[in-house]
Amino acid sequence: MTRRRVSWTVMLGIGMVALILILAAVAPWLAPFDPLRMAVGPRLAAPQAGFWFGTDEFGRDLFSRVLCGARLSIGIGFVAITIGLVLGGVIGVLAAFSGRWVQALVLRALDVLYSFPDTLIALALVAFLGPGLSNATIAIAISLIPFYARVTFGLAAVERPKPYVEAARLAGVSHSRLLAVHVLPNISQTLIVMGTLGFSSAILSAAGLSFLGLGVQPPAPEWGAILAGGRNYLTKAPWILLCPGLAICLTVLSFNLIGDSWRDLVDPRRRGRS
């Protein structure tokens, strides 16, 4: 892949993400009803004027719930990625600038962790931390660490032999200062771009955890939690299933469209294999 045109799919992804971010930002003002208020309409009403996505079993407006759910999903994703990126980044940079044995050990451990699905790692952690918004976010953040650590390691390992690193060392810059002030700024831009790759994974994990009842708890309008509630009304009210599901699909798809062109380049599974 020598040429790097910005393809129309990436542009579409960026456009969709921008739209979703705007919708999430203005959700409280745009939503016709309070997403938590019951009996704003009839129970299990089909989509109609006034209730565009229909209503759920408590007569809550599904459109308002799905709209406000975007804030939760994006919020969880953002916080989890920030934590995961910082912790993974520290591990990756430290490993890249440490001795041979430490490096081998860390990489091996990361590879082992990486071979387990991130959703499952988050699930195992939540099982012990206990359910809830903040615990789910922490669990998802930790589940992203192996990926980010591996990516950061790859970027930092490229910097290590560069002249400026040697120059800083000769100038007597301390190890931690070298990493924080000299190396980190050089890779941070790429790292932040990589950061967006975690969004799709984080949103899917969050929805999965909430669907199982281990993440965000009802009545919060998290998409996975709405789906869990709608499970019992599959025949009577299929719209409870369709609307939040499509919301997850579209959000994850738009992040994937952006990240897709990079994924092959950074995927640790493909690195190292010729």
């Binding site: 799919t9 082992v112 071979s115 195992a124 281990l214 369709l242 997850i248």
Partner: protein, 307 residues
């Protein structure tokens, strides 16, 4: 070859020991007292019972002794007893393991059946229409939450059309979950197949085969497909691990009696020994499958099997 397999087995054993230690440590990330958390829903929880349980789980010992003891028990096949029902964790999990494996293997079969041809077609039409369509399907595939796809399939085929049962454990019940898993993970397979086949199409030996005047289908079905399949064996293990992970949720959607469903019940009831046991059994399955595939790869690739 035997040396390489031995090294692989040793590495796998080390991995499993690390997983067991981590699983043992997990109980210490429980905020507050784990026994109180476990007993929160129990009516019989007198202080005496709770003290007994604390002692039984070894929670009164220093952390390193607890983990050492846990490791010591696990390697002997003792995963402890469940909090609810006092049943041996290992027995419970082993009973359900065949169900889980059956579903996982069927799902993998579907994923390969869909993903391999799609990846092949995409690679052969590289940068063409077919490629774009397949890659777009692949992006869509990884963007759909598997449990939602499962719910939609359940709604359409079981409830609306009435073709398949909603719950149960017969082979007819396996169709939908296997299809759900297969469709979800076929995107991953298609991606990997595509990049492998593109790599092989550029190899000198493919050019040699063409120079020999073989028919194009012969070139593709022998000189490209064979090495491609051998390469793909190396990544099937990874697909399998991710598929097993997705299956934990899917088993709950379809009420499939596997270890995933058991695990979620345990998580909701805070049955910590059972969750720890699940983590260990899950990791062992994944590691075992990847070792088997590794050996298979070493047999299939003549460069490794015939030094």
């Amino acid at each position: 070859m035997l040396g390489a397999i031995a090294r692989r087995l040793a590495a796998s054993a080390a991995t499993l020991i690390a997983v067991i230690i981590l699983a043992g440590l997990l109980i210490h990330i429980v905020p507050g007292d784990p026994v109180t958390a476990m007993m929160a829903q129990s009516v019989t929880a007198t202080p005496e019972v709770m003290a007994e349980m604390r002692r039984h789980l070894g929670l009164d010992l220093p952390v390193w002794q607890q983990v050492g003891l846990y490791l010591f028990h696990v390697v002997q096949g003792d995963l402890g007893l469940t909090i609810r029902g006092n049943e041996p964790v290992l027995t419970l999990l082993i009973q359900r393991l065949p169900n889980t494996f059956m579903l996982a293997v069927s799902g993998l079969g579907v994923a390969l059946a869909i993903g391999l041809p799609l990846g092949f077609v995409a690679a052969l039409n590289r940068n063409g229409l077919g490629d774009s369509v397949v890659m777009l399907i692949a992006v869509l595939g990884v963007s759909i939450p598997s449990f939602w796809l499962g719910l939609v399939l359940l709604q359409v085929f079981s409830l609306d059309l009435g073709w398949l049962p909603v719950a149960g454990s017969g082979w007819r019940n396996m169709i939908l979950p296997a299809l759900t898993l297969g469709v979800t993970y076929s995107a991953l397979v298609a991606r990997m197949t595509r990049s492998t086949v593109i790599e092989i199409l550029g190899e000198d030996y493919v050019r040699t085969a063409r120079a020999r005047g073989l028919r194009e289908w012969q070139v593709l079905s022998i000189h490209v497909l064979r090495p491609a399949l051998i390469n793909i064996v190396t990544v099937v293990g990874l697909v399998f691990a991710y598929l097993m992970g997705g299956q934990v949720i899917i088993e709950n959607v379809f009420s499939w009696n596997g270890i995933g469903r058991l695990a979620i019940q345990a998580m909701l009831q805070r049955d910590y020994p059972l969750i720890q046991g699940f983590i260990i059994v899950f990791a062992s399955s994944v590691v075992l499958v990847s070792v088997v595939l590794d050996i298979l790869y070493r047999i299939l690739d003549p460069r490794l099997s015939r030094p």
